[in-house]
Amino acid sequence: MEVSRNWRLQSQRYRMEGLRCEQCGTVVFPARAHCPQCAGESFAAQALRGLGEVYSFTHVHDAPAGFESAAPFFLALVRLDEGPLVTAQLTDVEREAVHIGMPVGRASCVKTASVAC
C-alpha cells in the first residue's frame, strides 16, 4: 500500500476509530460519508475496542501479489461488539481453533500492514 494512502487510513487501520450516526445511533466502521441505515451525514467519533467474534472465515492458500510470503493466512469477517462487521486477517491463532463464533481480540491487522505496506 502506498505510504500516503496508509497515512490517510492510519487512524482507522491502527486505532480503529469508528463513527456513530448522530441521527440514528448506528456505529459505522470504516468511516463513510452517509449512514447506511438512515443516510444521515453527521457523525460523532466512536472508539472501537476491537473485540468481537468471527462471523465467517477463510484460510487463503492462493495469495495475491504482495501477500505471497504470508500465505496461507486467515481472512475473516469479524462482528465487533459495537455492531460493525469488518474484514480482517486473523493472526496468532491456532489452525484448528478458528471457527465461526470464536471470540477475537483486536481485529485490526498489524500483520497485513507490515507485509503489504
Binding site: Y55, T58, V60, D62, L85, T87, I100, C109
Partner: protein, 384 residues
Amino acid sequence: MRDVFILGSGQTAVGEHWDLSLRQLARAAVSAALNAARPARPQALFVGNMLAGQLSGQQQLGALLADYCGLRGIEAITVEAAGASGGAALRQAYLAVASGAVDTALVLGVEKLTDKVGSSVAAALGSAADADWEAAHGATQPALAALMMQRYMHEQHLSQQQFAGFSVNAHSNGRTNPNAMFRNNLKAESFGSAPMVAEPVNMFDTAPEADGAAALVLGAAHMLAPAAARIRVAASALCTDAFALADRADVLQLRAAQQSVQQAHAQAGCGAADIDLFELHDGFTILAALALEAAGYAQPGSGWQLAHAGKIGLQGEIPISTFGGLKARGNPGGATGVYQAVEVEQQLRGTAGANQVQRARRGMLQGLGGSGATAVTHIFECLN
C-alpha cells in the same frame, strides 16, 4: 424507447491464447459478428473489459479496437464494472439503440488474462474488491467467495461436497461446447479432492481465468433482414449494492442481483417460471446458489438444493451454464457477459447443437461485479 434486436454475434474459443494479443482476439470476435449481421454496420462500439489497463498496460480500448477492427471514426468507449463489464457494455449498447441515438451498436467483450503470472492476476482481479478495506488485507475474489460459502455452510449445515452438482453440470455442458476451455466431465466424487484456493473454496468451486473475446451487433427493428429470426432484448437492468461484502445488510443475499431480476421481469412482462434458461455468474459455486435464490428459483438458504442435473441440466427445471458457464467455458473477466449473451442468442435461435435447451423462447443472463456489488441482468426473447 424502441425495440432492440440482435443482428449477429461471434466469439473466440476461451482459453490460454499465448499466440493472440488483446486486439487480435477482439478482431476475431468482431469479424464473426459483423459477418453474421451483414449488411448492417455498427455506428457505435461499447467494449466490456476489466483489466487491460493493469495487465496489458493498455487503456482507451474503444478507439484502439474500433481502429484495429476496421471501424475507425465511430463512437467507441470502454465500460468497466469488474466481472459485470460485459453485461454493462451490453446495456450501454442496448440504451444507445433503444433511445434512437444510433440504429446499430456493437458490443465487444474482450479480456487478456494470461500474459501475467497467477499472483499478479489474482491481485488484479482483486481490484474489484474494496482496495482500502478488503484487498488491503489480502482479500481476493476467491477469498470473498469463501467468506460467503463458509457462512452459508454454517447456517445450512452443509459440506463443500454439496455444491458439487453446479460444477458437474457446468463441465457436462462444456464438454460439447467447442469454445469451452474445459471439455472434460467432472466426477462428483473427485470434486472434494481438488487443491484448496481459499477454504472452503477449492479449485473445482472456482472458474478458470482465461483469454477470450465475444461480440454482438444490436439494431433497431428496421435493421433486421426480412427473413432473420427476431431475437429481442426484452429487458436490461443494472443495480448496485453496498460495495464491500462486510457492509451488506446480509452477506448471503445478492441484493443487486435480486433487484435487477425483479426489474428485468417487470420490463419483459414475465416471471421466473417463464424463463427457459439462465446464464448466471458461476465464478464460484456459492455464487450459483445465491444467484438462483436472488432470481426467485429457491428460498434463501436452499439454492444449493438445485445442484442436480434434474433441476439445472439442459432438460432441468431451470437450465443454467448451458455452454459450461464460467466454470467450464471459462471466465474471461470483462468479456464474460458478452459470452453469456451470445450463448443465450444461440439457444433462442435453436443453433446450440448438443447444448440446445428444447423450446427455448426466453433466456436470462446475469453478470456480477466482484462479490456482487454490481449486478446486470438481461432477458432475450425470440418473437418467431
